[in-house]
């Protein structure tokens, strides 16, 4: 064997490895060049658009993009559909071709703004005098982080209470519940049992973790807080126990094991066997998107919607809720930032575009002109979500560099606690707060 050649080969490959290692330490392209003092009068070129939608919903995005291309004939939009946040993160960090990116959740805003994955939009907004007041205040909140606006909203998700009209009538209920206690009372009236004592149909499934039963959706009923003004966990010192005790008592009234068995037999949330659509559950908290599922998969089901009930002593909150939604940003290292900004501005602020997307995707529009547009198709059921989105008391979960992860300890504790004897609530909340702070401290290091 020629050892000199082998040694040379090893040297070469080690050098290549070292070069690769050094290359791996880079994090994509450098920050974008300074923004031009005036917006370009003629747009031309190709701009990439990455989004998470697929199938029918991707078609709705395509329609909006077609309108943009029609208005800008020299522009071509290169669409990448079905891309989730993890993929966006990888492509952007490796310097990939992401000009405009749509994320399905505002949870990423804290991370993508603080790390620079999405560029700061302030220079473009200032230059083009984009009126941010056109977005409801709470929507403005969840699209920026720590003073950096790196995203604009592209439709919102709002949960509310869905009610099966036939089940309501059968139980003699004529008005939607406005308090959590009324919700429980109505639900128990609508709950039916089999001869063996097992559940036949549920009025409302109180189990934490069932479909959209999440702390994020239940918390606003008692104005519960996630973080304090210093960005530290507030779950141990807030009003969480009020709603948790109500939920736990509700679970105990029916029986945890019975609920577990019944829930295990229900269909997938995002399928035509969704329990509300099949009539197995008469009322449930769900997003506005369910109206589209119902129209498509259960057109004969008669239902109404209402704001989700609120806790005792929180009557003033009734009519509000929680809101979050899709966000759009310009990828770090975008090679066509002006084109990207033009496309993004069109998708998020052009009233016709926002209304068209809202009508197609059946999400809540995120600009005030679109919310009141006569072209917005609003059924009586959908109106509930519009009203909640416009309610000044509607809140959102604060963003963090951890994404949605910082809230997981509370979800984990609640899910486990509901099946216990109910003791140890404050200790569990203290532990959850400590875990949240530990995670936040780690991501903030050094």
């Amino acid at each position: 064997m020629n050892f000199r050649r082998v040694r040379s080969s090893l040297l070469l490959t080690v050098s290549a490895g070292a070069a690769l290692a050094l290359a791996g330490c880079s994090t994509g392209s450098a920050d974008s060049a300074p923004v031009a003092s005036a917006a370009p009068t003629d747009l031309s070129g190709t701009v990439s658009l990455w989004h998470f939608f697929s199938d029918r919903e991707a078609g709705v995005i395509q329609t909006a993009v077609d309108e943009f291309e029609k208005a800008n004939p020299d522009v071509t939009v290169d669409i990448h559909s079905g891309q989730d946040d993890a993929k966006l993160q990888q492509v952007i960090s490796s310097g990939g071709d992401v000009d405009v990116a749509v994320s399905f959740s505002s949870d990423i805003v804290g991370n993508f703004c603080s790390t620079g994955a999405f560029v700061d939009l302030e220079p473009y907004i200032t230059r083009d005098k984009v009126d941010l007041e056109q977005f409801p205040e709470v929507v403005r909140t969840y699209t920026e982080y720590d003073g950096t606006r790196c995203t604009l909203p592209l439709l919102a998700d709002v949960p509310a209470l869905y009610m099966n009209s036939a089940a309501l009538a059968a139980a003699g209920i004529t008005a939607p519940p406005t308090t959590l206690d009324q919700l429980e009372a109505d639900a128990l009236k609508m709950t039916e049992y089999n001869p063996d004592g097992s559940i036949k149909t549920l009025g409302f499934n109180p189990l934490m973790g069932f479909y959209e039963n999440t702390p994020m959706n239940f918390g606003p009923t008692v104005e519960a807080q996630w973080l304090d003004a210093d960005g530290q966990a507030a779950v141990a010192d807030s009003t969480w126990p009020e709603v948790m005790k109500w939920q736990k008592a509700f679970v105990d009234t029916i029986g945890y094991d019975k609920l577990q068995t019944f829930t295990a037999g229900l269909g997938q949330e995002f399928s035509d066997s969704n329990a509300f659509q099949t009539g197995q559950v008469a009322m449930q908290i769900d997003g506005e998107w369910r109206t589209a599922f119902l129209a498509d998969q259960a057109p004969d089901l008669q239902y109404t919607t209402a704001a989700f009930p609120v806790g005792m002593g929180h009557d003033d909150l009734y009519g509000s809720g929680t809101i979050s939604g899709n966000v759009v940003g310009i990828g770090k290292g975008s090679k066509n930032p002006e084109l990207a900004w033009a496309l993004m501005k069109y998708l998020t602020t052009d009233t016709d575009s926002v209304v068209g997307l809202a009508n197609g995707l059946k999400n809540v529009p995120t600009t005030l002109p679109a919310l009141t547009s006569p072209d917005l198709v609003v059924s009586p059921q959908f109106q509930t979500f519009i009203d909640i989105a416009k309610d000044p008391k509607t809140t959102t979960r604060p963003s963090s560099p951890l994404g949605s992860g910082y809230g997981q300890p509370l979800t984990d504790f609640w899910t486990k606690w509901q099946g216990t004897d109910g003791s140890g609530l404050q200790d569990g909340l203290d532990a959850a707060a400590q875990q949240m702070n530990d995670s936040l401290a780690l991501v903030a290091a050094p």
């Binding site: 082998v6 080969s9 090893l10 070469l12 490959t13 080690v14 290549a16 490895g17 690769l20 290692a21 791996g24 330490c25 994090t27 994509g28 998470f52 939608f53 697929s54 079905g82 989730d84 946040d85 993890a86 993160q89 990888q90 960090s93 399905f104 993508f112 790390t115 620079g116 994955a117 973790g209 069932f210 479909y211 577990q260 068995t261 019944f262 829930t263 295990a264 037999g265 269909g267 997938q268 949330e269 995002f270 560099p401 951890l402 994404g403 949605s404 992860g405 997981q408 300890p409 979800t411 984990d412 899910t415 486990k416 875990q435 530990d438 995670s439 780690l442 991501v443 290091a445 050094p446």
Partner: protein, 296 residues
């Protein structure tokens, strides 16, 4: 001549390993340059992480129970198939075919089969007056349910065992028989020594696969929780029910891609690498002591 192999080793093993080692001492989110934080990730891992212990124990459970059960099942089926005289090819196909089913599809099918409310398994049990358990929805039974699935798809190992069993020289059985060995003694002194390399292969690859167990557990959690979605990234249902299916590999994924903590995820990965290395070396040494050449 060995340059391509060395390049492959460097690019696909040494570089990722060294990069992960470096990142494990940093705060890194892919977007900003890694920032050195010393042992902080490891301190958090061993003293503060609320779920890493549970994830590690779940993974260890799969190593301890799933790997041996799968090997024994595959060996038993292979032993039976060796003796089959009629329709030999058909029987082999029947036991091998499940291994061809994509993991996601097999998990989805299994979760629906074992659905407590609508699945055929509990319906059949009900016919016999037995109230079926919650299976994938019960924290105590979720892992054993996945073991059942792993036994169903053990065809890949079974076919290797079968080939190895068919390769045992007949004269060895005849000679041992003349020496007065009974069936059990033939298994211990003729069959098993011949199978040692294959058993070692099945054990090592099984342990490594169990340490990296991800897809089946993640899909089972998503489907059983009723929240199976496509395109939503890191699922909130990971670990369902009650973190009983949260494996170490899933926890690495959640911390990396869900929480954007690639430095910490790298620290988790380094610990997994060390544990896997120690286990594999231990197994190879233990099994090596029983190989025919060593024994003689």
């Amino acid at each position: 001549m060995i340059t391509p192999a060395v390049i492959g080793l460097l690019v696909f093993f040494v570089y990722p390993l060294l990069a992960s080692l470096w990142y494990s001492f940093t705060s890194y989110n892919l977007m900003s340059p890694p920032q050195w934080i010393g042992l902080r990730n490891y301190t958090y891992l061993f003293t503060q992480d609320p779920k890493v212990g549970k994830a590690a124990l779940n993974t260890l459970w799969f190593v301890v129970f799933m790997v041996p059960i799968r090997i024994v099942s595959a060996l038993a089926v292979a032993g039976l198939l060796v003796r089959v005289r009629r329709a030999r090819g058909s029987w082999r196909s029947v036991f091998y075919l499940p291994a061809l089913v994509p993991p996601v599809a097999s998990v989805v099918a299994f979760v629906f089969l074992f659905n407590p409310g609508t699945g055929p398994v509990n319906r059949v049990l009900h016919l016999f007056g037995v109230d079926g358990p919650l299976w994938f929805n019960d924290p105590a039974l979720a892992k054993p349910s996945l073991v059942l699935l792993s036994v169903w798809v053990m065809g890949d190992i079974m076919i290797i065992f079968l080939a190895s069993l068919l390769d045992v020289p007949r004269e060895l059985y005849e000679a041992s028989s003349l020496d007065g060995a009974n069936g059990a003694q033939q298994v211990v002194h003729v069959t098993l020594p011949h199978l040692v390399p294959v058993l070692l292969f099945a054990g090592v690859t099984g342990v490594i696969a169990a340490l990296q167990y991800f897809t089946e557990a993640a899909v089972a959690s998503g489907v059983a929780s009723g929240k199976a979605t496509i395109g939503a990234g890191a699922s909130a249902a990971i670990g369902y029910p009650d973190d009983s299916l949260l494996t170490y590999a899933q926890w690495i994924y959640v911390r990396g891609f869900g929480n954007f903590q690639f430095g910490y995820a790298s620290a988790l990965a380094m610990v997994l690498f060390v544990v896997a290395s120690v286990l594999v070396v231990f197994m190879m040494r233990r099994v090596g002591a029983y190989t025919p050449s060593e024994a003689s």
